[in-house]
């Protein structure tokens, strides 16, 4: 894949493009979060880039490994030029505070639900989003499930669960395979289920 878009970005934004790489053939640029929307607008409007098709926005949680904890990842695609780019920006500290970034909804309407999902799963706040509320989890849910410090099995039932006598629950913490598999649950909650 050509590095054309990366070169155009670097020549236009200079220092705001912090890193670039083309690992596995995907052009990636890590940018300054303060210029997020501007760069996105440029990518859509500049005739050499012409990124008119929105693909995906998500985030990755690098808790314990990097200090801006979340990495917001944007994929866009140009239909006419047939090139893609991945844009990343790093936000947030270890507690999850300060995880704010501008919303690209004014640039591509498709960012609407994807940003809501990223907010729901990670807690990254997109400023300027028209309707930022939870989308996959129910409104009463506390916490953000895809963060690395949310234990996978911690449930928050919406209605009271029945206690079924003579029935055992799923595997407890001391049952099943306890070796050989790495999991990324950093801090497991003791009261599971």
């Amino acid at each position: 894949m050509s590095k054309l878009v990366l070169d155009i970005l670097k020549s236009r934004f200079g220092d705001d493009v912090l890193e670039t790489h083309s690992q596995f053939g995907d052009d990636t640029a890590v940018v300054n979060p303060a210029k997020w929307r501007e760069i996105a607008q440029f990518l859509r409007d500049d005739p050499r880039c012409a990124m008119n098709m929105f693909v995906d926005i998500t985030a990755v949680d690098w808790l314990g490994q990097r200090t801006p904890r979340f990495e917001v990842v944007l994929h866009v695609h140009s239909l006419d030029k047939a090139h893609r780019i991945r844009l990343k920006a790093r936000v947030g500290d270890d507690e999850g505070n300060g995880a704010e970034i501008e919303s690209v909804f004014p640039v591509w309407k498709g960012a609407n639900w994807f940003e809501r999902e990223t907010f729901d799963m990670f807690g990254v706040v997109f400023t300027g989003h028209p309707d930022l509320r939870r989308i996959l989890m129910y409104p009463e849910f506390k916490g953000h499930p895809l963060r690395k410090d949310y234990p996978a099995q911690k449930i928050q039932p919406l209605i009271e669960l029945r206690d079924v006598p003579d029935r055992f629950g799923p595997f407890g913490a001391d049952e099943g395979m306890s070796f050989g598999r790495q999991t990324h649950d950093y801090r497991r909650d003791e009261e599971t289920n």
Binding site: Q23, F24, G25, D26, T28, N52, M53, F54, V55, D56, T58, V60, D61, V73, H75, L79, A82, R84, R86, W108, K109, G110, N112, W113, F114, E117, M121, R134, I135, L136, M137, Y138, P145, L146, A152, F179, G180, R181, Q182, T183, H184, D185
Partner: protein
């Protein structure tokens, strides 16, 4: 006669009214089970719609982080459960992109044929379900019967009818069975017969056409900006098919047309889907003709593929290889990668982040119908309630994929 309240202003004579709120779902026959649409109505016209999804959120991405790379295949199957093979193939291709390996040619043809058979199922069921929700129950039964033919083929090959979990990183779980080509060559024409019968019932029916034509129009620019891909984008006039634009596997050797619509209404989406069924049958035919009858299905790399079972019990190298792959997982080099294929609904993307170990650090699925369903609000605002049914049905929202 003189008006009674001459001195009152006109505005005060109107009764104040609030819009009527109607809730469709989440358990609703036409909502494909898992979507809730809260409608604000004025009479029968929809003023505002709030589409709420997430009722089938099963934590796919969180579950992926708790196992090895190969253990994701069953989860991925259950995302788009009408065409599970396409998800398997898409995910296997994504991991193989990160590993930098290509499967042997016979496997590529095998993946193409199985994937296209799954695509047949997807399109048939979408059309069938939409017809059923409109009241035409018979075509749905015809298409369901046709799907049984394809499921017989899958059962023979993979062992399961619906969620096969047949894909593996670096190949498939087992080679094609002895009569694979004969079964497919015998089955696909029978399926097309059922499709023709169903279409004969539908396409001349005035009521069916009235309910689909001109309803739910999505203009081209909006569809692109919303991130629509697949049939719904092609129905709006954009000839973008991942198999054509960025060919993967052996799609560059196949000759097939890409049906493109003109207006982007329900009728165009329905017809695109039907036409794609026929193009899919063409692809299957060509792939079967070109598929080699002998040759390996899995790549020959001990770090990725499980060794044959008899060797595991007799030689030490195979035992170690088996142990490492099962217990620790395939070691994918650290980094990130986005890989996309054309699933039943559009561009199914996998954004994988690896930290070099056998467990994925982040496995993000980019569901095509998540992007599609976010356009539903725009489509149904201004329509009447019964128009919601074919509009929603023609988008092919699969709950498992949309809510991952």
């Amino acid at each position: 006669m003189e008006p009674l309240d001459r001195d009152l202003e006109e505005g005060l004579l109107e009764l104040p009214s609030e819009p009527m709120m109607l809730n469709m779902g989440p358990s609703h026959p036409a909502m494909h089970g898992t979507v809730r649409i809260v409608l604000e109505l004025s009479g029968e016209m929809i003023q505002k719609a709030d589409v709420q999804i997430g009722y089938l959120h099963r934590g796919f991405e969180k579950m992926c982080e708790r196992g090895t790379w190969s253990q994701i295949f069953p989860y991925v199957d259950r995302c788009n459960y009408v065409s599970p093979m396409l998800n398997n193939v898409g995910f296997a291709l994504a991991v193989e992109k990160m590993l930098g390996v290509t499967v042997p040619e016979r496997c590529q043809y095998y993946r193409v044929v199985l994937g296209e058979l799954a695509r047949l199922c997807d399109h048939m069921i979408c059309s069938g379900a939409m017809c059923m929700e409109l009241g035409a129950f018979t075509p749905f039964l015809y298409f369901a019967r046709a799907r049984e033919i394809i499921w017989d083929i899958f059962e023979e090959e993979t062992g399961a009818r619906v969620t096969h979990s047949f894909g593996r990183v670096g190949g498939m779980a087992s080679p094609p069975s002895k009569f694979f080509k004969e079964m497919v060559r015998a089955g696909v024409p029978r399926v097309l017969e059922f499709i023709n019968e169903g279409e004969k019932l539908l396409l001349k029916n005035r009521i069916f056409l009235d309910r689909l034509e001109g309803v739910g129009v999505m203009p081209k620019e909006d569809a692109l900006a919303l991130g629509w891909t697949g049939i719904v984008l092609r129905a709006s006039g954009v000839p973008y098919d991942v198999r054509r634009a960025h060919p993967y596997l052996v799609y560059d050797r196949m000759e097939f047309d890409v049906p493109v619509g003109t207006t982007g209404d329900n009728y165009d989406r329905f017809m695109c889907r039907q036409e794609e069924i026929r193009q899919t049958a063409r692809i299957i035919e060509q792939a079967l003709d070109q598929m080699p009858d002998e040759g390996p299905i899995n790549i020959d790399d001990p770090r990725i593929i499980l060794p044959p079972k008899n060797e595991v019990y007799t030689t030490i190298e195979a035992t170690i290889q088996h142990f490492k792959i099962v217990m620790e997982g395939i070691k994918v080099p650290a980094g990130e990668c986005y890989s996309y294929t054309e699933a039943g609904n559009g561009e199914l993307g996998f954004y994988l982040v690896s930290d070099g170990s056998g467990t994925p650090y982040r496995c993000r699925i980019r569901p095509p119908c998540f992007a599609t369903t976010q356009g539903l609000q725009q489509l149904i605002t201004g329509l009447m309630i019964p128009d919601v049914v074919p509009t929603f049905g023609s988008l092919n929202m699969i709950g498992g994929e949309c809510d991952h």
